[in-house]
């Protein structure tokens, strides 16, 4: 097996601060290599350094050997498309928003491979048919779904015939079912050459196999065969990362506190239409007090809309929603949002927001410190605003704010999908635990069936 790409002590710096500590690796033909780590672990910098795409101000040290030769930046750039390519993280941003899909593949055959326009078009259409996009070539990227856009981007990137393929978070933001398809597509594309994948998703690493590098905060913590690392992780961090996968969670469903809990919401034959599309038809279910109910389904299936409808934020097309608990006030029906920073005003500190709430509802302030301790929130975050705390902290602060109002129902709309797996696990567990303790019903939305399975009493599949 020939070595196509070899890194010796490659490190990335901004001024004197080291963002990525020296790392050495070799990419061999036919053997995929995967780098696993959470956001901010410096793994994307590595791919950018290899390509020669580091943002201004970052410097790289060490040796990057491509096809057995140390090359300058310009020499490596000359290999783009033909020999070496990087797949984009966000396909929607990486495709020209104004150009038809097929033309974005065609131009590679035309300009990089030097074919005639007619031949290039034919080849592009054949490529699209192969990835299941036949008949979608005339669409612009904004008319494609996330999975389709990612397939288009991969097709366009690999049309130039590159042997070394770098994939930076190729499955980010995709549903589980779409994710596996992309992994298979990557594997077929890389048959001729070699594939370096960067991901935060343990499952993706498992499916790709080959060599695995685990990184934490710009540092390599473990290296070896993917199968052996994932089954027998040595390093504590790797172990934590694997344990954070919902499929590896132990069942944390708490028993409903009152055995004879009363009904809280009775939904009967709900129908919801949006934009001329029926999201769900004649859906009936009951949510009891203090119950944790999960909703699963692919993106766009109406999971969030169902929760909004129960809260009265969206009007339903037909059917009925009966709130059985007539003593609960309107502000005891609350929602946790998917993107924590967007759910807070950034104009004042979190402490000010909390004071506003305390003043409005005359809340007993002595309840705050113990609750903050339970949520592992440091007192210092009250001084800061929502943009300067981490997503996990902010989501826990959102839970704190909600619990102070003694809610009877909490709609948690993918509350952890923007968080790293380890943080996500922690937040989900705290949410379920504290809500159950307060006898508050939770409607938990997720695209991950495993997560729902491990946390909910009742599951609604859409």
């Amino acid at each position: 097996m020939s070595v196509l790409l070899k890194l010796t002590n490659v490190a990335v710096y901004v001024d004197d601060t080291c963002l990525l500590e020296p790392i050495s690796l070799a990419l061999k033909q036919g053997e995929p290599l995967t780098i696993l780590g959470q956001t901010g672990s410096g793994k994307s910098l590595l791919a950018q350094a290899i390509m020669g795409l580091l943002p201004d101000g970052l410097t790289v040290s060490g040796e990057i050997e491509t096809f057995g030769k140390v090359m300058t930046l310009e020499e490596r750039q000359a290999l783009w498309g033909r020999e070496m390519v990087m797949l984009p993280q966000e396909p929607w941003h990486s495709l020209d928003p104004l150009m038809k899909g097929v033309d974005q593949v065609k131009e590679v055959y035309r300009f990089v491979r030097g074919n005639s326009p007619e031949k290039a078009l034919a080849m592009a259409e054949e490529d699209l048919a192969q990835v299941g996009l036949a008949g979608n070539g005339h669409k612009r990227p904004d008319e494609l779904s996330g999975g389709m856009a990612q397939r288009l981007a991969i097709t366009a990137a690999t049309a130039g015939g590159a042997h070394v393929i770098l994939a930076d978070e190729p499955t980010k933001g995709l549903d589980v079912s779409r994710r596996d398809g992309i992994v298979r597509l990557l594997q077929t594309r890389a048959k001729m050459g070699c594939l370096l994948t960067i991901t935060h998703d343990v499952e993706v690493a498992r499916q790709l196999g080959g060599l695995l590098l685990v990184m934490k905060e710009g540092r390599l913590v473990e290296k070896g065969e993917a199968a052996s690392i994932l089954d027998f992780p040595q390093d504590a961090y790797t172990q934590e990362l694997i344990a954070a996968e919902p499929s590896a969670w132990s069942d944390i469903t708490a028993p409903i506190r009152q055995a004879n809990a009363k009904d809280l919401i009775v939904a009967n034959e709900l129908v919801l239409e949006r934009g001329g599309r029926v999201l769900f038809d004649r859906l009936s279910f009951t949510i009891k007090q203090g119950e944790v109910v999960g909703i699963v389904g692919d993106s766009g299936c109406g999971k969030s809309s169902l929760g909004d409808a129960l809260l009265g934020l969206l009007s339903i097309s037909s059917g009925s929603i009966v709130r059985s608990d007539s003593t609960a006030k309107p502000f005891q029906w609350l929602k946790l949002y998917q993107d924590p920073p967007s759910a807070f005003s950034s104009s004042v500190s979190l402490g000010q927001l909390l004071d506003d709430l305390v003043a409005l509802h005359r809340i007993d302030e002595s309840r705050i410190p113990p609750l903050m301790a339970k949520l592992k929130l440091p007192a210092g975050i009250l001084e800061r605003n929502c943009l300067s705390v981490s997503g996990g902290e902010l989501q826990r602060f959102a839970i704190l704010r909600a619990l102070l109002l003694d809610p009877v129902f909490l709609f948690a709309d993918e509350p952890t999908s923007r968080l790293d797996p380890i943080t996500a696990k922690e937040v989900t567990q705290l949410l379920v635990e504290l809500a159950t303790e307060a006898n508050c019903a939770v409607l938990l939305v997720s695209h991950d069936p495993d997560l729902i399975q491990r946390t909910c009493h009742q599951v609604i599949a859409l």
Binding site: L95, P97, E107, V112
Partner: protein, 310 residues
């Protein structure tokens, strides 16, 4: 597309109604001796008598009740009966047509020149970056601070009065067009070059632009395939916004250079209180404005079809 056209047609109707109503109010609010003064300017100071004034009053329907007069005024307008100038006595329609030709010549040459100046400078700014960028941007903020007539006065002082390269005012030869067109072009370009620069910078930094290079296309191929059109979207949309400045600029420039266009006509008519001409020229300006906006909307939709559904 349909919604856009409908909106523009409605706007066209409001232009006609708005201008008609404003000029009607203007006419009714004329002070009592205005009929005399108008008669004086038409027939000469010595020939004014109460008969001539009464004639003028009847012509302006000042003797009718306001609502009847308003109704007549609007129906005449809808039939494009614009009446005769109170000063020259010539049909407004004819003089407006004549003025429109001159204004269009000035507007189009000014706009074309501004594109020829702004696009290359903006692209150069975005592509080369500092220090060139700072120089261009600094220069354009200084020019932007000057009202268009100040730019005109400066050009006039330098090129017409000092170096005597071009005629001071008037029309007839291509040389007469140079200074007015450049005044308009410079004041428009000082704003639009920033838009071109920002749009180009944004496109050059866009993920799809980089992805095209990573796919293997050369810098020039990437610019041609993905740069031109994406840069053009905000720029063309901005030309729509700039139409306001263009029409405002024309009013000022025509007055400054005595260019016999609509703006010059309007300013003069307002000064002389020649109501039918005020109405006619404001109307044509409004219609021109709406039509040009429609044109810009259509070009925008053509280069960026994403808006079609929205």
């Amino acid at each position: 597309m349909k919604a856009m056209l409908l909106r523009r047609v409605l706007q066209l109707i409001t232009v006609v109604w708005g201008v008609g109503t404003l000029t009607f109010i203007l006419m009714r609010s004329l002070p009592g001796d205005m009929a005399y003064r108008i008669a004086a300017s038409r027939y000469g100071q010595d020939n004014v008598n109460s008969e001539a004034a009464a004639l003028v009053r009847a012509e302006l329907q000042l003797d009718q009740s306001p609502w009847v007069a308003y109704w007549h005024w609007l129906t005449d307008l809808l039939q494009f009966k614009l009446g005769d100038s109170l000063v020259s006595g010539l049909p407004v329609m004819d003089s407006v047509q004549h003025m429109l030709g001159h204004s269009l010549l000035l507007a189009l040459s000014g706009l074309l020149l501004s594109v020829l100046i702004a696009v290359p400078l903006g692209l150069l700014s975005a592509w080369r970056g500092n220090p060139l960028d700072s120089v261009f941007m600094g220069l354009s903020s200084v020019i932007r601070a000057m009202p268009v007539f100040v730019v005109g006065v400066l050009l006039l002082l330098l090129f017409a009065l000092n170096w005597r390269l071009f005629p001071v005012a008037g029309f007839g030869t291509p040389a007469h067009l140079v200074l007015p067109a450049f005044t308009l072009a410079i004041s428009l370009a000082a704003v639009s070059n920033r838009v071109v620069r920002d749009s180009a910078k944004q496109t050059f930094q866009a993920a799809f632009y980089r992805f095209s290079r990573v796919k293997g296309l050369s810098e020039w191929q990437t610019f041609r395939q993905h740069g031109v059109r994406n840069i053009a979207v905000p720029v063309v949309a901005f030309f729509g916004i700039q139409l306001v400045s263009m029409i405002e600029g024309i009013v000022m420039i025509e007055s400054l250079f005595s260019w016999p266009g609509i703006g010059h006509g309007l300013a003069h008519a307002i000064f002389a209180r020649d109501i039918p001409v005020i109405q006619g020229s404001a109307l044509v300006m409004g219609i021109l404005f709406v039509l040009l906006n429609t044109l810009v909307d259509m070009i925008c939709l053509w280069i960026d079809p994403r808006g079609v559904k929205a």
